[in-house]
Symmetry: D2
């Protein structure tokens, strides 16, 4: 049973393989009468494009989006919005050599076990390319949350073991402008320089790097989230964990709560709000009205030039060194994807709360 | 829009408030012909009961489950299985005093903001009591995964800052017998003794403790999980994050991947399987056939005796010290709940894979 | 995969077998703050009880409903409403004789083929008894549609070939009072008398009768229904066809449109509304604001005393004459069930429209 | 909340407006390894094309389908299949004149009431053009049911009051070859000739005609259908009623059961099967293994040249005579759509039964 949709009222279904003719999304449930153009979506997609950082693949993806349905005269109509991004600059020949080989850390082995076959060209459906459709759909979701004065900002918190100075750069104050200062979308310029060095070093050694992205939601009204399973934090965790490279999700004080006591983690309430935000803006799965603060851990990109042990589809031992155009780190390209996923969940829950 | 169901093919819907007449679950999609008695479910529920550890509330909950439908002559029939657990030993009078007061760290404030009213008796729907229904449903799911030779074991990895000796007690070897040696379900007896002291100390000071639970799934076949949104890790993250006290979920090497390089995190493949398990048994959202390894961070119980700042429903400043029968830590009572949630997700995905 | 739920935002899940301990429903998505007592639901259930008409079984079912969750101090809280109706006056011994025999017209054969086993006591899950849970859930839905000034009235249009005088008794004028004049819930008193005679005659000959129920919805706002699959008429058709005895559903002019021309079926529009209602209140799957008019055909009750040819589970030829307490016609007991199903669909679509 | 998807395990989501750039479908849940080419789908689409009968619009639609994802090397991969049909030969200028006018019998009025705006070009989302996407998706579903030896045949049973000779042409014997003898897909050649005359007459008078389509499913295994709401007949009724022109659906003996007695409608069971098929192949919502027999009533096409009373969006009285290229009857073009909808439901339930 296919699992290509996310959201209940604001629902996104993505389709498409890395080296097929196109990838896309069908966005259902967007209310009518919202201004929406291809330019609005393109702007978000452009942020996902490979940049000039040492972490990025030299593959040039145009990622030009077209709206095929659901708008009329520049406005949404309430009918499903079909978005398509054609796959250009596709070269599958590089994959012919490894079409029978399972790449460690990739979905090759598991797709083969699941479906009995796989589209080996460039990762197929498991490719990071699928996230372009998520970002496009997120651009529609953004239109909805903007109506409520909400904003989602994600940025590089750590990369290759280098962490930003958290005293100077606190989640609650970081803006889109603050992170636009470098290609890594990192608010701490000096940390970013060290990260760039680490990336360069990893590239040279044929290896790749992991990191941490922090996501913050501002302006979220209290009351969003649906107990007891579709809690806001549960849905956010699912949405973020569904991104290929993510291996951990935490909210508010996250894993640190394991070493804290209740008198620390209970955020005191005063007439104006809360005195702290260890909860990360969510209590009992429902938003408090404070900022929502999340962090995800992104594993290093599995495509590395270093020689790895593996097997082929017949079970024979192989050695593999992956050539070709690959990012060295999922960061910063994963950042607009994280923003999109969080935005989609928020839009869905805003609509869900309207039925109360 | 209500969010009280989890699972698609194996679907669990829970209902019930802490101090209402009963709590329960409707379990849909269980295949017919499986032996299932109230005794099978009761055994799982008994593990969730308050024990004799210093962390537990002295409230005596009988938690006697009844099967109201879906079985005939001791076997499941394929129709929905309705499970009910009556609430006995309920005393709501203690909550009369705080019915207008928001308890910090609780869902009081957010339920009120969401619904415009709340059932203030003992936490209402946000109470840990709702997890009894999850555990009961998990007992049904367990019947399904047992058919495939699968096993789920969860245990205390850390509590109050005390961590088990991870060199001596590795996830892949810990059995249900290993953790039955103490009430904390902790495989490291000497760590457990220190944890007990910490709990006693916290109780005395009117405070509470957080901790970490590790969950391991053994015998899972490869191929489970539905890209691109209903990935196995995404669904597990949601299921676990939907437990009230959980603030973080990680899989395999989890947040550590942020500091690792690809040549470390890529688990090498050999004809017999994999040489390591940094992926935690899941690649591209699909199980590899290795053990699935997860960890969750549980925040300290928010009900503490220490004086806290808060407000009432009218916005007046208050000071609050919570009396009554409360656990000092969610651990170990959360452990069978974690097992139940993981088991429910696995049962659902086993059925989903049958449609491929 | 289980199909025991109906509705998306206002969602009803029923459970329970005819001769199990109880039957019930979990109602999700009901907004908070609505007055709801057991008495409100009981009133609807009482209408479904076997009456004194010749069509009814002498089985006395108390059908006492209890609310187990989802209300507090007489108001809904927004959490799932669990309703339970205990099965009293249950005598399964009568079914021991036919436990291996397939009753023609019943679900015995198909349940056995589907699940490999069946609960043979009194129809099990396929029993008309399951509809008690639908009626109880419908009582909750009624609270929602009442907020919008809507009303659903169903009545006997035909029974055993006797049809009401449609010139005198038109759908648009028939009220609950008009049909309360006899036990058959038939607005045409003289037709009802002939129907009663037909029922008595059928009972004497060991046979049973079919009929037609007409359902009318008044006060429905325009704009309800979700193209292109969850159209209002599509959802109504499903809801009504899911009632065991229903073999046909039609809307507005229904099957008569096959013989009409467009200049007849197109209802002319004037500033005040429409000049006719061949559409039955629905255009392109969306309500027009006119009355919604539906009809269903109910087949004769399959449990008859007349000797029938059948087989047992081993494939042996048998002759069967069904004894015991059975209705002679699904009418009038199906009437509150039809009302409940239509009301549930309307409540769901009212909530769905709130998200536009 | 959008309702553009049908099916649970085999799920079809359609998108697209009549005069937008394209229309399409995303098909989820199709098992991997099935041979599927654009040619397979095109063959089904071609059957829906306007033919040479008097009933058809002269609009030339190419309806060329492209597969954008979900297949690799001519086989399905298990990932979502994205199908696109570009809208060619589109001329919206004809609609400029009526952009503020509500056409009687159309969805203009209700879409406007629902969404507050509408895409007035050619019916927008409510256009019959959307059914091209259904037929394309049905072609994929057909691949699945063929694996089980199943076949769906639909044909013209009545048109403009002319009914086929039911004694000579019984549902259980009619084949695709039998109906390919004329453009109306009517097995009774002499009836078809009269129907053609009726169509010509209606066209001349600026009017349109309704009719009845009968659909038969052969080779269906017993056991399909999910009580108590997702019964096979309930899901079929919904799927068929979701077609724009359908105003009634009946199964087996349908509305005739209202005048029958139980000893007639109960199909006797013998070791080889059943002696009759009044049930239409479904008992208690589950297939019996007999042929499934359904009928739908299609209303006359609402676009007629005859002058009609209506209003514009400002509430002013208008007279309207619709010019342009329009079918005179939904028959025969609705026939492949009926087949597609039934096939989609069957494919979904085949997959659902695999989880038992």
């Amino acid at each position: 049973m296919s699992g290509n949709s996310i959201g209940v009222l604001f629902k996104v279904t993505t389709w498409g393989e890395s080296h097929g003719p196109a990838t896309g999304a069908v966005v259902e449930g967007c209310p009518p009468g919202i201004n929406l153009t291809e330019g609005d979506i393109q702007k978000c997609l452009n942020r996902r494009r490979p940049g000039k950082v040492a972490s990025s693949s030299p593959r040039q993806e145009d990622d030009t989006v077209k709206i095929l349905s659901g708008t009329f005269q520049g406005k949404t109509t309430g009918t499903p919005i079909s978005l398509i991004i054609e796959n250009t600059n596709v070269d599958s020949s590089a994959y012919e050599d490894i079409k029978d080989i399972f790449r460690p850390g990739h979905g090759d082995f598991t797709y083969f076990k699941k479906y009995g076959l796989r589209d080996y060209r460039g990762g197929g459906r498991a490719s990071g390319r699928e996230t372009a459709a998520r970002v496009a759909a997120g651009a529609v979701a953004q239109k909805i949350i903007l109506r409520y004065g909400m904003e989602v900002v994600a940025y590089t918190k750590a990369l290759g073991g280098v962490v930003i100075d958290q005293n100077k750069y606190a989640a609650r104050t970081i803006s889109h402008e603050d992170i636009a200062i470098n290609q890594l979308l990192c608010p701490d310029a000096s940390a970013a320089r060290v990260m760039e060095e680490k990336l360069e070093e990893a590239r040279r050694s044929g290896d790749s790097l992991g990191g941490i992205v922090e996501i913050i939601v501002r302006g979220c009204p209290p009351g969003l989230g649906e107990p007891v399973f579709d809690k806001m934090d549960a849905d956010l965790a699912k949405a973020l964990m569904s991104i290929g490279t993510v291996k951990g999700v935490e909210i508010g004080s996250g894993f640190k709560v394991a070493e804290m006591v209740g008198s620390q983690t209970n955020d005191p309430i005063i007439p104006d709000g809360f005195l702290s935000n260890h909860a990360g803006g969510i209590l009992a799965g429902i938003t408090t009205g404070q900022d929502i603060v999340l962090r995800v851990a992104a594993k290093p990109i599995p495509s590395i030039a270093k020689v790895q042990q593996t097997i082929d589809v017949h079970g024979n031992r192989m050695e593999l060194s992956i050539k070709g155009r690959h990012d060295v780190s999922a960061i910063p390209r994963i950042i607009p994807v994280c923003e999109a996923m969080v935005t989609i969940v928020l839009a869905d829950h805003l609509l869900r709360q309207k039925t109360i």
